[in-house]
């Protein structure tokens, strides 16, 4: 608690320090550090297999890190797990739905799990359903809903307790263009009206340009770029160009790096070069 609020950026809501995750010999995430302040909307970018999902699972306490520290709103995700987890709304890669339940029943169940007080529960459930455009289908079984609607139920589940931090793992993957636009609008709306800190992962660059203020780029489990979107595109380049550049540079470095064998150093160099 003490350290969390006394950091350099003052009100960092998500603090990640030296985060690593190893599965046997495979390093999914290597020495990842970043801080996200209150109200920031940050895109977590990277190609498939870059370690985005693993990082998000560690942030939300689903998977423990091999190394490093995570604080959510000042509370350590492990030693103060209950406090930290209460501050998080999380939409995993596949929405965690019970197909036999109705959206109303399901969101009410989640509201209970997330400690929404009884007096406010009914209102909170209705609000989450209406914000995600689910009122029309609120009494149908989730299994009968389309993929787009299921994604919305997943989103409603993440926001029902109005958490300080929203962690969204590829919220628009597998949706059709219209659904993508709707979900994006919804996230943008949440960021504006809710004042929530949002970390969303994606590999769609347009998505980041559309809703995020800042992007963190990861590749092979390492952070390779961490910049405000406006700065990234300052040189007249599209985000896609920046992305491609960083990725190719990464590849070059890795080839060079195999000779020297200094993984961590190269990672930091890549980051420093970009910033």
């Amino acid at each position: 608690m003490q350290e969390g609020t006394a950091g350099t950026s003052g009100a960092a809501v998500i603090e990640v320090e030296g985060l690593s995750k190893r599965y046997g010999d495979f390093e999914a995430v290597r020495d990842l550090s970043f801080r996200i302040g209150a109200g920031e909307v940050v895109g977590f970018l990277g190609p498939n297999g870059a370690g985005k999902t693993t990082t998000m699972r560690m942030l939300t306490g689903f998977v423990p890190p091999s190394d490093g520290r995570i604080r959510i709103d000042g509370a350590d995700i492990f030693s103060e797990g209950l406090i930290a987890r209460r501050a998080i709304g999380y939409l995993p890669e596949t929405p965690p739905l019970y197909p036999e339940m109705t959206p109303t029943g399901y969101i009410d169940f989640v509201a209970r799990l997330k400690d929404v007080p009884r007096s406010r529960r009914k209102g909170a459930v209705e609000r989450a359903l209406s914000r995600c455009g689910l009122l029309d289908v609120s009494h149908r079984e989730i299994r009968q809903l389309s993929k787009g609607y299921r994604q919305r139920v997943g989103l409603a589940q993440a926001i029902v307790h109005e958490p300080k931090v929203l962690v969204l793992d590829e919220p628009t993957v597998g949706l059709d263009p219209i659904q993508i636009r709707e979900i994006r609008a919804l996230i943008g709306d949440l960021a504006k009206t809710g004042g929530q800190t949002i970390l969303l992962s994606t590999h769609i660059l347009a998505e980041v340009e559309a809703i995020c203020q800042r992007a963190i780029l990861v590749h092979h489990g390492r952070k390779v770029l961490d910049q405000p979107i406006s700065e990234m595109m300052g040189g007249g380049l599209s985000l896609e160009d920046v992305f491609a550049r960083v990725m190719t540079r990464e590849v070059d470095e890795e080839i060079g790096l195999d000779d020297h064998g200094g993984v961590g150093a190269a990672g930091r160099a890549g980051n420093g070069g970009a910033a």
Binding site: G61, L82, I83, P92, P96, L97, L113, K114, D115
Partner: protein, 266 residues
């Protein structure tokens, strides 16, 4: 433990939406009816036989509890070994298969709340099953005079043993995401725990120089649910037997919690 009820209630509701619950309850009712009828007919036939041979002493010794209720509940205990795995297989395995474990484990709840919630849902279900079984001896009170205490003790022993088996089911369901594997594992564990332990002891003791009353064989026999159930069916509710059910349930629940916790660290 605030969320325990939330989890148990959701699980029970989902259980009763699914066809599994109804298939199990239907089978259970049909089997109970059949066995009850068979026990009833067997009882009657023996009575007629004894009358033919004028064996008055034996006729006087016959009663509904020994001759009917006890064997009936005893056979239902065997049936539960086969049916209960179908009820408990999904308790935790389906959460993993669905990805909903990611919701539970990232919510501000403890693993104990999850385990106990699941356990209580299973317990609720086996209480319904025991209720169905209790209905049949209840009919006997209309036409005869079974002993109330012994009849209740019989039903209670079935409930207690089922509750312990639910804990076994929760454990088996926590080690896998595959419901079929959970089913088979529960079934095997229940068979060993319920029936096979005494045989295993006998076989392994036969080779060794140890007698059947050695410490090991006594311990293994104590671990077998069968012996405890048999004693309780006779109306002997002993604290040692009660303690057995409590300890066995607790052991499997602690194991379940440990498994879920350690799965996180893999």
């Amino acid at each position: 433990m605030r969320h325990t009820g939330t989890i148990a209630a959701r699980e029970l509701r989902s259980l009763f939406i699914s066809p599994v619950a109804y298939v199990v309850l239907t089978l259970w009712s049909v089997i109970a009816g059949t066995f009850f009828l068979a026990s009833l007919i067997g009882f009657q036939e023996r009575l007629i036989q004894l009358q033919q041979y004028q064996m008055l002493q034996q006729i006087q010794a016959m009663n509904l509890n020994d001759g009917l209720i006890e064997p009936f509940i005893g056979s239902m205990w065997v049936i539960i070994l086969f049916l209960l795995p179908a009820v408990t297989m999904g308790l935790i395995a389906s959460e993993k298969a669905n990805g909903t474990d990611e919701l539970l484990l990232t919510s501000p709840i403890t693993i104990w709340e999850i385990v106990i919630g699941k356990f209580l849902a299973g317990v609720g279900f086996v209480f319904v099953m025991s209720g169905i079984v209790a209905f049949f001896p209840a009919i006997l009170f209309v036409y005869g005079e079974p002993e109330v205490g012994r009849t209740i003790s019989g039903v209670v022993s079935l409930m207690l043993v089922s509750v312990t088996y639910v804990a076994v089911g929760v454990f088996a369901s926590s080690v896998t995401r595959n419901q079929l594997i959970a089913f088979i594992l529960t079934f095997v564990l229940l068979l060993i725990l319920g029936m096979m332990l005494p045989f295993i002891v006998e076989i392994s003791m036969a080779g060794s120089g140890l007698g059947s009353d050695s410490a090991i064989s006594q311990i293994v026999n104590w671990m077998s649910t069968g012996n405890h159930v048999e004693r309780m069916l006779k109306g002997l509710i002993d604290t040692a037997d009660l303690a057995y059910f409590v300890i066995a349930s607790a052991v499997f629940l602690v194991l379940s919690k440990t498994v879920i916790e350690s799965a996180r660290w893999r």
